[in-house]
Symmetry: C2
Subunit: 379 residues, 2 copies
C-alpha cells in the first residue's frame, strides 16, 4: 500500500510514538489529579510536552500551551472565546470548515461580520486585501498557515505585520504546517496558534492544542473538573487549566512528546526538504501527463507537501477509487472540507484528487503513483 493521504493524518509515525503511548498506558495515572508517583509522572510528561511545543513554535510561555483533542476544538475555542457580537473578522477563502463553520456560527448567532481575502488563479492569497478589508470594527484575522487543498502557504510574517500595525488579533490554523514549516509566534505576531498532533507533528490522533500569547484572554470552552480550586463555581482563570476541563489525553500526549523528540532530532527543515523534494518529483511527473490539471502554486514559494489535481473532467472520487482498488494507493478526493477554495478554483462540482506526502514516503512510491495516474489518464 502506498499512503499518500498524509494531509488527513500521517498514518506512518516514528515507532517511538506508539511505544511511548503503550508505556504511558501501563504506567501513567491521571495528570494533575493527585500527588502520588503515577499521577505526578503523568503531570510531568504533560508539562514537558508543553515545553517542547512552546519551543517548537516560539510560544513565550509553556503554561500557555493548552491541549485539546484536535485542531478543530482548538479553533472553536480560539474563535468563539475571543470574538464578541458586532466584531468584524477578516479570513480567507483558503480556510477549512474548522475555521469557516465557527465563524459562520458567530455570524448567524452574534452578528459577527466576515470578510474574505480571495486568491489569484494559483490559489495564492491577494495580500493587499488583508489591509483593504480592515474596518474600524475589525478585531481579528483568522487564517490558515497553508491550504489543505493546494498546500499553498500564507506568508504569516507579512500578515502578522498588518495585524500588529492595526492592533488585530491573529489566529492561525497550523493544521497543515505544524512540524513541517517553520512557525515563530513572536516573529509572525501570532496571537493564538491552533495545531493538531496527528498530521505533521506525527503524534497520535486525539491530540492538538493552542499556543496563546501572553495577555490574550480566551473565555473558557468546556468547564468542569480542574483538580484545583474545586470550591470555585467557575473554571480557574489561569492557563492552561482555564481551557482544560476534565481528564487530559495523557496517553496520547506521551506519544506526541515522543514525536516531538523525533522532530527535534531529525530537524523540521530536514523533514520539509525531503517532503518538498517528493512533492516536486511528483509534480514534475504528473505535469507530463496529458489531461492532468494541477492546482496551487509550484513556483517555489513555501508550501506544504500537497499536490491536488484532476484528470480532464473525471470525477475525483472515481479516480481516487481506482487508485485505491487497482493500485493500492491511498489519496483523498472530493471537497476536503474546503468549500470556498474549491469555489475559487472552479472545482466545486468535480472536487479534486489530493496527494499529500510525508517523511516516510519514498521516491519509488512517487514514481509508482505517477505511473498509475498516467494509466488512468490514458483510459
Amino acid at each position: 500500500m502506498i499512503y499518500l493521504d498524509n494531509a488527513a493524518t500521517t498514518m506512518k509515525k516514528p515507532p517511538q510514538v506508539a511505544e511511548a503511548v503503550c508505556r504511558a498506558m501501563n504506567t501513567m495515572g491521571n495528570a494533575s489529579r493527585g500527588a502520588h508517583r503515577e499521577a505526578l509522572s503523568a503531570s510531568r510528561i504533560v508539562y514537558d510536552t508543553r515545553v517542547k511545543l512552546a519551543e517548537l513554535f516560539h510560544c513565550p510561555r509553556a503554561d500557555h500551551v493548552v491541549f485539546t483533542c484536535n485542531s478543530t476544538e482548538a479553533l472553536n475555542i480560539a474563535i468563539c472565546g475571543t470574538l464578541n457580537p458586532g466584531d468584524h473578522v477578516i479570513t480567507t477563502v483558503m480556510e477549512h470548515n474548522s475555521v469557516l463553520r465557527p465563524l459562520y456560527r458567530l455570524k448567524d448567532e452574534q452578528g459577527v461580520k466576515l470578510s474574505f481575502v480571495h486568491c489569484d488563479s494559483f490559489g495564492c492569497p491577494i495580500y493587499e486585501q488583508f489591509e483593504t478589508l480592515i474596518t474600524p470594527k475589525t478585531r481579528a484575522i483568522v487564517c490558515t498557515h497553508a491550504s489543505n487543498l493546494t498546500g499553498n502557504a500564507i506568508d504569516l510574517e507579512r500578515v502578522g505585520k498588518i495585524a500588529k500595525e492595526h492592533g488585530l488579533l491573529l489566529i492561525v490554523d497550523a493544521s497543515q504546517t505544524a512540524g513541517v514549516l517553520p512557525i515563530d509566534m513572536e516573529q509572525m505576531q501570532i496571537g493564538i496558534l491552533c495545531f493538531t498532533g496527528h498530521k505533521g507533528l506525527m503524534g497520535p490522533q486525539g491530540t492538538g492544542g493552542l499556543c496563546i500569547r501572553e495577555g490574550i484572554e480566551i473565555r473558557p470552552w468546556k468547564v468542569g473538573g480542574s483538580g484545583v480550586q474545586s470550591y470555585s463555581h467557575t473554571q480557574p482563570k489561569e492557563y492552561p487549566t482555564r481551557l482544560e476541563a476534565g481528564t487530559l489525553n495523557s496517553h496520547g500526549i506521551a506519544g506526541l512528546s515522543a514525536a516531538l523528540d523525533f522532530l527535534r532530532e531529525t530537524g523540521v527543515e530536514e523533514i520539509a526538504r525531503k517532503e518538498d523534494a517528493l512533492m516536486r518529483r511528483f509534480y514534475d511527473g504528473v505535469m507530463q501527463i496529458p489531461g492532468v490539471r494541477v492546482y496551487g502554486d509550484f513556483s517555489g514559494a513555501e508550501k506544504s507537501a500537497i499536490v491536488a489535481l484532476n484528470i480532464r473532467d473525471y470525477d475525483s472520487a472515481a479516480v481516487a477509487d481506482e487508485l485505491s482498488e487497482t493500485y493500492d494507493i491511498a489519496v483523498r478526493p472530493g471537497a476536503h472540507c474546503a468549500p470556498l477554495m474549491h469555489q475559487e478554483l472552479g472545482t466545486s462540482e468535480q472536487g479534486s484528487v489530493r496527494f499529500s506526502f510525508s517523511w516516510y514516503n519514498t521516491e519509488e512510491e512517487i514514481d509508482e503513483a505517477i505511473r498509475a495516474l498516467k494509466e488512468i489518464a490514458e483510459e
Copy 2:
C-alpha cells in the same frame, strides 16, 4: 506500588487495550475521511465501538453514540446543548464539577435555575426531593450515577420513573459506573448518558462520549470539518456527525473497543462482584482502626468500589502523602472536584482520603493498605 486511585483513572488496563492502540497507530487512517482502505478500516473500528457501547448501555441506536475526549466534554455538550434560558434544572449535591460548573455557567449567563437534591448523613440522596423540587419550569434532571467521593449510587430506575412521569429529560453522568454497574438507558429512562472511557471501561485516556435517546435534539458544540456536506455552512444535523467535528481519536477508540471486548468476555457483573468484595474487605478492615471515619453507605446498597475516609483530624493530603512516600500506595486526597458533597459531609476543610478499587487489585494489596492505615492512625 499499590494503585488504589482507580476512580481517577484505572491505570492498569487489560493488555489487549494498549496492543489495540499500537496496532491502530500503525495501520489506521482518518475515520470518515476518504474511502481508501486505511480510512475505511478506521471508520469500521469506530463504528463497531459505537455498536458495542450501544449494546452495553442499551442505547437504542448505535449512530446516537457520540465520541468525545472525556466525560466532561460529553456533559458540557449534553447540558449546554439542551437547556434554554429560564429553564429549571434539578441536580444533586453528589455531583462532580463536570456537572456543577456547566450548570453554574448556565445559571450565571442564561438565568437557568438550579435546585439541589440533598443527602442523608450516609451520603444517600433524599429521593423524595427529586419530586418535590419539580416546578412548571423544570426541564431536566441532571445527576451522577454514583458519587466520585463516596461511591454511593443513585437509583436511576427510581429517578427515571419520576423524570418520565413529569416529562423531564434525564441526563446522567456515568463517569464512575460505566463498565462496573449495570446501565440500561431504556429501563432507566435515561435521555442522555455521558461516560468516560478511561475509568471503569478500562480504555485509554482521551476517550468518552454520549449515548442519546432518539428524538433528543442537542445543539452542536464544536463545529468544523465533518467529511460530509462540506458545502453547508452548518454542522450536519445527523448524529453522530452533528456533535463530532474534526478528527476523532480513532487510536484511542480502537483501544476502547478492545477494552469493551474484555468487559464482555469477563462480564460486567463479575467485575462488579470482585470490586465490591475488595471494597468490603477494605471497609471491614479499616472500620477496626480507632480514629478512622468512613463516609458513604455500606449497608449493601449498590455502589461503586470507593471508600473515602479520614483519620481523626489528620489533613487528608498529609495522609495520602505518607501512604505514597512510606508505603508506595496511591490514593487521592482533598476535594475530588466534589465541593457540595464535601460540604454535605462536613469535610470541606479536611477533604478526605479516597481509596478506589479495580478488577486488577488483589486481596493482598487491600490488606497491605489496611495495615498502612493502621500504622498511620497509631502515630
